[in-house]
Subunit: 255 residues, 2 copies
Amino acid sequence: MHDSQPPDLMTAQPALKAIDIPQLKTVCSSCSLRELCLPIGLSQSEIEQLDQLVYTRRRIKRGENLYRAGDEFASLYAIRSGFFKSNVLLADGRDQVTGFHMPGEIMGLDGISIDRHACNATALEDSEVCVIPFARLEEASHQVRSLQHHFHKVMSREIVRDQGVMMLLGSMHAEERLAAFLLNLSQRFVSRGYSPAEFHLRMTREEIGSFLGLKLETVSRIFSKFQHEGLIGVQQKHIRIRRVDGLRALLDRGD
Amino acid sequence: MHDSQPPDLMTAQPALKAIDIPQLKTVCSSCSLRELCLPIGLSQSEIEQLDQLVYTRRRIKRGENLYRAGDEFASLYAIRSGFFKSNVLLADGRDQVTGFHMPGEIMGLDGISIDRHACNATALEDSEVCVIPFARLEEASHQVRSLQHHFHKVMSREIVRDQGVMMLLGSMHAEERLAAFLLNLSQRFVSRGYSPAEFHLRMTREEIGSFLGLKLETVSRIFSKFQHEGLIGVQQKHIRIRRVDGLRALLDRGD
DNA sequence: ACATGGGGTTGATCTGCGTCAATGCGGAAA
DNA sequence: TTTCCGCATTGACGCAGATCAACCCCATGT
């Protein structure tokens, strides 16, 4: 009915707490995502400072919300596994998707502004996040200059990313938007060690459309068109990119 | 005729430079914009810390760039007077406007990400900015916790603002976009002490259109339509909002 | 195996906005 | 003042993408 908090693994099982094997702890220093996530660019000892503050994880089931618009803001979240969308409920009841997020990415930055989240974060598949209490992060970045600097970069990167989406929505045609979307996904999968050419979409056509400012029928039609042209292979949510250059060519020739 | 900036008392008169009366220096603590700008929410003594680092101003003539995409990033800029647009040059030569900026707002946050600016900042009228060397800002916010926290809020606010634009571009029709645009401008003018109902647009129809993902003819037509409906008065760049509620009503009823 | 339902595809038609083109206006310079 | 030029307005027409509608596919539960 409501999104009940799954019991926290670290703190809910006192039986485990004596064992404390390093690899099993939620620590950044041993996390395979450390090159993508908050720790990027930090030294080993600095990452160990992060370990101090990222002490909780949270599991979110597919369809449930990590947070909702209006919720009090207390923490940032680093995605450890799974897939999320950011979305807001519009006046007319539709929900507008404002972003998709994958492992290693930080969610919740919008909440800092007024201490309340500005959008929902909904899991598109069963997911797990690292909870980063924001007050502690500020404390830590007060101690560690490079962490402060890096955190600024993370926020700035988010601003640049959003401006990229604004450009996409403001100046591109449907086909270009979808090409840009696929290339962007591909690139993000690559830097996570997955295939650049083959992946599963975690979101529906409607969610893609909402994000790109298109209707689901248009998204579907363009997928089919790309397929006929040999640019991609589509089978439901499974995508195979056949000609990256073909997709990129769509972007270069303005309109 | 046009909104001429009152000549700046502080820096324009070299005869004064030896005197160095505190009130005449470029200091945040005596700046009329301090309630809108970086100093917001800081105590008097904390603001005085800011005075240390904001020691330069820069004048930008109408049409000139404060910075360009690709320029090395070194400083943030607080607008002291004037009006700017952010814009990027697209592959096809058009330039896409990604934002408009007025006094008290901070520009350049996009540059932190990769130490280069991601867009141009072009003055739409003769303008003046306070230069905030970023390294010094980080240094200062390392010292002053509340400054650090506030700076995070400034960045987060920018993220929220961008997401608002994404929603506008992703889900609104032309009339709704323009209504939202006018209401947004009006609100920002109000908080700067100007009339909410009457203002001069500093940008052309084409720039508005670029920002809103519309063509200039569409912008023009909708201005005319709004005028016929009695919602606003338009005379070239002069706008008078006659029925705020009428404009707001356009937004509430989804589509 | 079968039924069910949510997502996806595809076609026909409609329309909001883009495009192209002509005209008007007002501020800057001579 | 007159000329000029960039910007704005307005109209006629076309098209990309929305809308409406039918059908299909596949995953899920019984």
